[in-house]
């Protein structure tokens, strides 16, 4: 089943200070070999840039900052894993519970019949 993901890249300098106004490029890959551009976004005041991507399988993601005259380039990767769906099996109902329910039903029927005779 397809799921839409939010990719959040956070860019800081080496001291952890957020860097705003920087362009981040986002890529996806299914094999970590061929990367396809999802799109680019600009970091906000918190140093964060976002894109969304819809996938139906395990997907690898990469964000890249190309660097500029003031700051070095950097990149980061992440992975979204889709687990294989397990068959939906109803939990087993204990035999004693089935018997109990049957006994109760029989009891109710018996009481109803007795009252009808009275």
């Amino acid at each position: 089943m397809a799921v839409t993901l939010k990719l959040t890249a956070t860019l800081t300098d080496i001291n952890g200070t957020p860097l705003s106004g920087k362009t981040i490029s986002f890529y996806y890959s299914y094999d970590k070999s061929t990367w396809t551009l999802i799109g680019s976004a600009t970091t906000d005041a918190n140093g964060q840039a976002y894109v969304t991507h819809t996938t139906d399988r395990t997907t690898y993601y990469k964000a890249e900052f190309a660097g500029d005259p003031e700051y070095d380039a950097s990149s980061a990767t992440a992975e979204y894993t889709v687990s294989a769906p397990s068959p939906a099996a109803a939990p087993p109902v204990p035999v004693w519970l089935v018997l109990l329910v049957l006994l109760l039903l029989l009891g109710v029927v018996a009481l109803t019949e007795e009252r009808r005779r009275i």
Partner: protein, 479 residues
Amino acid sequence: MALKDVIGAALATINWADTGHSTFKVYHGAVLGKYGVTTFESEINYHNGLGTKDGYKLAALFRTLADLRGLSSSTLDSYTAITLQNTPFLGATHVPDNDTYNNKSYFCTYRYGQCYMYSVAKKLGVATDKWNSNLAWQEIKSVLDIAGHGVLFLNTSDNTYVDLGNRLYDENAQSISVMIELYEADKANNAGALAYARDTLWAYVNNNLWFTDHYGYNPGDSGYECEGPFFAIVAARLRALNGYTLANWDRVITDVKSRFLNNGWDSPQWTYGTTRYYAVVHHHTANSQRRLMNTIGAWTVLHAFYRVLDPTSQAAIQNLLNGPAGPAWQLLINNSGLFDSTANRFRWTSDGTTNDDATAAGCVLLFLLGIVPQDGSLLVPLHEFNYECRGGSTLNRYFLFNYDARTIRIPVKAGTIQFIYGTSPVSYTFPANGVYEITFSSDWNSITSVSKVGDVDPTLTYVDPVRTPTKLTLTVTPL
């Protein structure tokens, strides 16, 4: 014996009370914390007093080195004014008469710090009619145009020159260096000097001196020759001044890797034939002489280029400095022939004798060999005021090695750097780019204090622009 012990023993052999009026000793002594501004003042005054063109030439070089070391004073300026006013020029032109060949006066493109004097004359407002960089570069260009390439000796008063082999560095790179220094003297008016260096001289080098994976000695000799590191400095400076872009820059990187790194200590610049020397060899196949100044140049370049090289080449530099073969400093003192381990002294060349000048320079080389870059490295500003950076290596005011205080000063690109002066390596992670002073414990096996003493000046020339490191994180969440 640890590296710090070798440095200490070598330093103890030098007679610091006598400068020998040597730019080599005074400059390296300044890097080693032995000399300050008053020594440079005395030396300029002394050389002015000789009243000769060689005296004024050395006075100019002392002034250049004082500025490189960040030393200044009014006395320095007043003595320099005398140098500027009395330096002889070639005829009525604006180019110094700084050398003699076959009894004729020439301007030697080795420069001896004199091209920097155009900037000083402008700053001091002294003899600016003579030290006119705008006319100088055009007068020099007229002679180079006749030659069709860089030259060693040129005379601007009669447009003659002497070509001693059209070599990669001595003629061509040095002529490029002249042009880019004259550009730096007056960037607003001398853009033509930079363009000439880039479009004519650099183009000539790439059309005539490139051999598959390295630059050769001259157009007819593909050999690896010992000026390779200084050539790389000139090329990097040209690129930096050209806005950090330059045609065939990839070749310069390839040359550095082929020359020094691709085969570790078996790379051609460290070997004569198949013999490893762990120091720069004069010519890989034609001359086994080892050279100290060129080895300093090599390690200056490798430290400077480290941050722009690929991970494999970075690992190669780490392996040279402190790898399986042993630390570079130990291999140097045991195998290069440049160090007399009985006298604890260096010699300039493997076939020469030991002396104070070389020993001071050797200690500066050992200082560089104690620094092993990791994800942090040195931010080396690249300077080249003189042939082979003679009389002073390229290390500016950001570098200091004070043995007695167990303190070093280095310019750093943020990240981790390892130091191997003691018996055990010690690492430190520098949080930001800058100039740092690091103090070591008595055995130099640990660091007792680190302080940032300033920022690196981004307007100096580097192998790549000085940028702040960044960190990027990525999270993925379902919407």
